[in-house]
Subunit: 117 residues, 2 copies
């Protein structure tokens, strides 16, 4: 069940959502942080620093720092894995779930407003 969208529609959607994010001051998240956040909330747990680093094709410190800043915003939280205390399990939060849901609504709404071009 593919989603049909024309290149010009894709661009207008992309622009409008980014405009909304910038105007709302909500743009605190970089592209990397966005990818990390959505991976945590869309993919099946458990999520680890190493796993995320591999999926994104970046180094581990990038993930650690992103989790630091997103943790400050309350978007995610971390917990030691009791079965292997070297691991850290990244957990979802209520705040993060709300932010993701809000983004979903934003994209959906802007897509609905797309005209025929």
């Amino acid at each position: 069940m593919p989603l049909e969208i024309r290149p010009s529609q894709a661009l207008r959607l992309w622009r409008q959502v980014h405009l909304d994010l910038v105007r709302d001051g909500q743009a605190d998240l970089s592209a990397r942080q966005t990818a990390i956040l959505l991976t945590i909330y869309l993919e099946l747990p458990p999520h680890t620093v190493r796993g995320l680093a591999q999926q994104l094709g970046v180094t581990k410190p990038v993930i650690t720092r992103a989790l630091d800043s997103m943790g400050k915003l309350g978007l995610v939280s971390r917990k030691r894995d009791d079965f292997d205390r070297r691991n850290v399990v990244i957990q979802r939060t209520v705040v993060g779930a709300l932010a993701v849901e809000k983004l979903a609504d934003l994209v959906t709404e802007r897509a609905r407003e797309l005209g025929g071009t």
Copy 2:
């Protein structure tokens, strides 16, 4: 002719495109820069620093710096307005047009791959 997309589809599309951008190292553009670039290439010229600042709801130095960095990447160029030499007209470039087109194809392709959920 609205574009029908479910919130879960929107999120998966958003995640997948961001993943691609991060993995390609193409993520040099912040959310603000993306909004600026797409505004320049989608909206009718002429574009000025002040006009872009108003549209994005940011200060003028933000636009100036974004144009600096995007100019280094060849994505846009600047030219003095001969009719009002206080103004600077932002112009499109071949490199920028190609980058925008590439982004459009990426979003379109990832949308096409979206499954039913």
